[in-house]
């Protein structure tokens, strides 16, 4: 049942370029879609809320993977770009009364512009040096969030650090209250993002990105304008990260700078490393893993306290530390066991069963 065909014979280049040429692959994707459709019908509100966080994280991780995994430009500015997306969509709806769907799109374009600006040092800097340069983006944006007046929201007449956002409504559903409505909306956007990025890497623009990662001098000699394509990678990546940030803002009632710190940048890097650098599906696996892991630990703790193995107060005290520790351990274990991430594990499993039970 899990076996894929042993020989696929194409009769046209069009069919050779298909993403999923075998029936088995098509059945798998239909199964995944079925799960996605059935989930909101059976799951409770809590599960759907986690799914929504996963959707937002996945869009952000795909964006980061375009830059880090595919183009090889290490960025520590993910938190900053998420913040730009979130705050610009929030400010556009709050101060300019722009309808929120348009604000989300505008915010993505604004983030793309800002991302491109912070991509300029990539002309001269590579690898770790560029990472330090993008750290500047993180610090500058965070400073602006803390010190720029319009961003400090007013709540009940008091100035706060958080910015309140008008309720986003679509077809009478209020997205920041109704998790199911956001889920439907978010899944559609995620599917669109996946299709668009997968297509990007089937064509010459995506190939140029990968070429820059693998051998930048050779890419240049083959006619790739390195600087232009690096900026394009920064812009495309930041566009999707900005989209994730804007969705995050619309999903929450209020946003504040604490949600866009360097820690978030590192968390996103962990997602794409654990999921698989330079793969779209890896970004999604990583987003699921990193979002679900802390929740899972909490559930496990709750279970242990209920069964009185653990003292509840102690547990609550230690939970954040356990979560962080587990987070670190997870990264180390993946890097040792499978440096290419969950994607590679899944591929190995498929290959095993493809030949099963006669593996020789």
């Amino acid at each position: 049942m899990t076996a894929t065909q042993c020989g696929v014979f194409h009769e046209s280049y069009g069919s050779d370029l298909q993403l999923r040429p075998t029936t088995m692959q098509r059945i798998r994707i239909v199964l995944v879609l079925a799960v996605v459709v059935i989930l909101p019908l059976v799951a409770n509100n809590y599960l759907i809320r986690i799914s929504n966080s996963i959707i937002i994280a996945a869009i952000g991780a795909i964006g980061l993977n375009i830059l880090v995994g595919y183009t090889g430009q290490i960025s520590l500015g993910q938190g900053a770009f998420l913040a730009v997306g979130a705050y610009s969509s929030a400010l556009l709806t709050t101060y300019y009364d722009i309808p929120w769907p348009i604000a989300v799109v505008l915010a993505s374009f604004i983030t793309a512009g800002i991302g491109m600006m912070f991509g300029i040092p990539s002309l001269r800097l590579k690898g770790l040096y560029l990472a330090v340069a993008t750290l500047a983006a993180q610090q500058i944006v965070q400073w602006v969030l803390n010190n720029w007046d319009p961003i400090d929201g007013l709540q009940d007449g008091r100035a706060t650090n958080a910015l309140r956002i008008p309720d986003p409504k679509i077809f009478g559903y209020q997205l920041n209250q109704d998790e199911k409505a956001f889920y439907v909306f978010g899944v559609l956007i995620l599917i669109a993002v996946v299709i668009v990025t997968v297509n990007l890497f089937r064509t010459h623009v995506g190939r140029a990105f990968i070429a820059i990662r693998d051998q930048d001098i050779a890419a240049e000699v083959m006619g790739v304008n390195i600087f232009r394509y690096k900026l394009l990678a920064f812009a495309t990546s930041s566009f999707f990260v900005g989209l994730a940030g804007a969705l995050l803002a619309q999903h929450s009632t209020a946003i504040s700078w604490e949600r866009f710190t360097i820690e978030i940048s590192i968390q996103y890097l962990a997602m794409i490393i654990i999921g698989g650098l330079g793969t779209i599906s890896g970004s999604i696996y990583g987003a699921i893993f990193i979002t679900v892991l802390p929740e899972l630990l909490r559930e496990m703790g709750d279970f242990l306290t209920k069964s009185e193995v653990l003292n509840a107060d102690d547990f609550r005290l230690y939970l954040p530390f356990i979560q962080r520790g587990a987070f670190g351990v997870a990264i180390v274990i993946t890097l040792i066991l499978e440096p290419e991430g969950i994607v590679k594990m899944w591929r190995d499993i498929k290959n095993y069963f493809r030949l099963w039970p006669f593996s020789y």
Partner: protein, 275 residues
């Protein structure tokens, strides 16, 4: 091999060829003179070999021609453009392609994708068309795929089309790198030691490919090579560099008889060949 039912026969355009003129080029790194007023011309359609002992400046000259190095003095003219002031990524538009001494392939891509990257400059569709893919984006991919398949046929690498380049044997990687440069449909091809580290059989194959590319596709070729037998057999003219100076330029026969060359480079080996 069956191609698409819909595939049209792809016309390989005879690439535009021009004369390459290297005029008084001098290049130094700090106090080291890599090249000292080197002048030579390469006529359209010929195979010019550059030989010389290690550190003679062969690769430096090639890097100057493809704009990776900027010589302090001199001009390199191709198609009325001074290559010294041109950016490397603009050279493919003039029809100049090259391979590297140490293979510089995109090792995580498949052979096919590496060759398709060679078509990069001919692909004009923007990022939004790429993202939508179906329609114009796909048509462009298929159109260029047809050209790439001809390169694959020429170099006899059909069986590794879908393999990751990093996992291939050294000799095959060299061949793929040649294919990537050829996919650009260049008028001038610079080959930096295309046969280094190969056994006799692989060298014979490579020599055959180079001659085919030169004769059938009409590509001008400049190559650096250490194997004297190959150089003397396939090249129309030979340029000899020693300590950054051009000490001889002529047909293989003339160069072989040049006393300066014998002293600087051929030495004992040449004496043996004479026997």
């Amino acid at each position: 091999m069956t191609l698409s039912r819909f595939a049209r026969p792809y016309e390989v355009n005879q690439p535009e060829r021009h004369r390459l003129e290297v005029q008084n080029v001098s290049l130094s790194f700090g106090g080291v003179n890599a090249l000292t007023s080197v002048s030579l011309t390469c006529e359209p359609g010929e195979i010019l070999a550059i030989i010389g002992p290690n550190g003679a400046g062969k690769t430096s000259l090639l890097n100057c021609i493809c704009s990776l190095y900027r010589p302090q003095r001199g001009r390199i003219v191709y198609h009325d453009r001074n290559l010294v002031t041109t950016s490397p990524h603009q050279l493919p538009k003039l029809g100049i392609a090259r391979t590297f001494q140490n293979i510089e392939l995109f090792s995580h891509m498949t052979v096919l994708d590496n060759l398709m990257l060679g078509r990069h400059i001919h692909m004009k569709k923007n990022i939004f068309t790429s993202m939508l893919y179906w329609g114009p984006g796909q048509r462009e991919e298929i159109h260029h795929r047809e050209f790439v398949e001809q390169v694959i046929d020429l170099l006899e690498i059909q069986h590794i089309r879908k393999q990751q380049v990093g996992s291939l044997a050294y000799g095959l990687q060299k061949r793929v790198e040649l294919g990537r440069a050829l996919a650009m449909n260049p008028g001038l091809l610079l080959l930096d030691e295309p046969m280094a580290g190969m056994n006799v059989e692989e060298k014979e194959d490579m020599a055959r490919f180079i001659l085919d590319i030169n004769e059938e596709w009409g590509v001008t070729i400049i190559l650096i090579e250490h194997d004297m037998g190959v150089v003397m057999d396939i090249s129309d003219r030979v340029a000899v560099l020693d300590f950054g100076r051009l000490i001889a330029l002529g047909t293989p026969h003339e160069v072989r008889a040049n006393p300066q060359v014998i002293q600087a480079y051929l030495g004992q080996e040449h004496a043996l060949m004479q026997e």
